[in-house]
Amino acid sequence: MALRPGTVLYHLREAGLSIIRNGWLALASTGVVTVALLIFGGSLLFVLNTHHVIGDIESKVEISVFLKSDVSPRDVEALGTRLQQRPEVAEVRFISKEEALQIVKQDLGDKADLLAGMEKDNPLPDTYRVRTHHADQVAALAAEVATWPGVEQVRYGQEVVERLLAVTRWARLVGAGAMFFLAGAAVFLIATTIRLSVYARRREISIMKMLGATNWFVRSPFLLEGVILGLTGGLVAVGLTMAGYFPLVSVLESALPFFRLVSERQVLLPVFGGLVLFGLILGTLGSFISVHRFLKV
């Protein structure tokens, strides 16, 4: 069938009239699409930001290389040189056991006298603090350095990173579950709306078939109706998400300067575009189901 502008306009007008006629049901199906996509968008942004934070932490992660207490000063120095020569290492700092004790004392503040007398028998090890060029080099380097002679233990911000990853796993799971359920409900509601439209226009449909309309011509307004409902739901969801997210970004920016939410356009645009696309898919799916089940020709 040739898609003439007149034909497209005809389908659009028919779809619009159907939506108005369906009133509350059309509103409800759009609403459910919106809620499903809000949850989807919300969890997506949450996961995105947690990953952002993880990246932040990882890039600041230092490897602490604790040395054995019986290592000679010459070997300590040799270890430092060996670290420095690694291509992935950006910076190496040596913290002697005396400095380490100073730091602990500073941290304790007025309770520093708890450590009185420790200078004589300092239990803290000599330490190298190592920074890598890239976060993804941390784990491998740490594992290797741990096997070097003279090294007692190697630690880095592993625990924090893993805890954050666990949180995002949960957020993903809960978000996906809720969204799956709501997406199903949205498709069902849209299918019901379209079924009512088909029913309301069954007379017209039988006349169209008698006049030689192709199946696609008969189905188009109904498919379009579903697409419009889904698309509207998607656009509303994006609007609401933006209205909620951007103020949050600026509030957090002034309240917690070190904790910055993702606000780059090239990251957010695919998220919002994806929401609209997802609404479109839900609408198309819902109307497809009804059109194929109730417009058998």
């Binding site: 006349i207 169209m208 008698m210």
Partner: protein, 228 residues
């Protein structure tokens, strides 16, 4: 142009609605299909329009098998056949003009074609001045003429009318018959199922009589016949 070969139609759980019907209609003919209620007249029109498939037998329209059409080809068959019903089947929320234009719109015709064809065909059925009235504002006879305009606006090869005078008074029925004759003179083949014996008797056209799903009579310049 239309050939039926040993066509039988049995609806599920039912006695045969058509039994071993063979029929040949030439281009340009005017054929009355008569017979009592339940004889199978409507079933025959449904088979030609591919609304139903025959249980057995073969139907050819314009040299092509109707029974073997793919579903996607059915719309194009229907565009070559105009249909008129007893109950009009007009869309109440469209004007006469829009109802006729609808037949062209569903085939994807351009606005220009529609603007050219619709006024012409409305004039042909004598409704030029009624174009912008809704079905409810038209008399029964006028509504049926809108249906005729809608059925012929695509220049069909065949015009099928299933009891088209069933809801019309004698005056309007005769007006419709004069219109049919005029359309038939233009070359369109007409197949009209009817109960109206007085019309059949006076028109002196070919008469095919059905009874219990069988063709019991087929006469040129026939009459409705006794007891049928």
């Amino acid at each position: 142009m239309l050939q039926l070969y040993n066509v039988t139609k049995i609806y599920p759980n039912s006695i045969p609605a058509l039994l071993d019907v063979s029929l040949r209609i030439q281009r340009g003919e005017f054929v009355f299909l008569v017979g009592p209620s339940g004889a199978g007249k409507t079933t025959l029109t449904k088979l030609i329009l591919r609304e139903e498939l025959p249980t057995r037998g073969q139907i050819l329209f314009n040299g092509k098998s109707i029974t073997r059409l793919r579903p996607s080809e059915v719309p194009y068959l229907r565009r070559r056949i105009g249909v008129i019903f007893q109950d009009f089947r007009l869309l109440p929320n469209k004007t006469a003009y829009e109802n006729v234009a609808f037949a062209l719109e569903v085939t994807g015709a351009s606005r220009r074609e529609i603007r050219r064809a619709v006024p012409a065909v409305l004039a042909r059925v004598g409704l030029a001045d009624r174009a912008h009235l809704f079905p409810a504002q038209l008399s029964g006879g006028e509504q049926q003429r809108v249906c005729v305009a809608r059925a012929i606006v695509n220049n069909p090869l065949l015009l099928i009318a299933d009891e088209p005078t069933g809801n019309l008074d004698p005056e309007n029925s005769w007006q419709l018959m004069r219109l049919f004759e005029e359309i038939n003179r233009g070359g369109t083949t007409i197949l009209m199922a009817t109960h109206a014996w007085d019309i059949v008797d006076q028109m002196k056209k070919r008469v095919v009589a059905l009874s219990h799903g069988r063709i019991v009579r087929d006469e040129q310049e026939g009459a409705y016949g006794y007891g049928a």
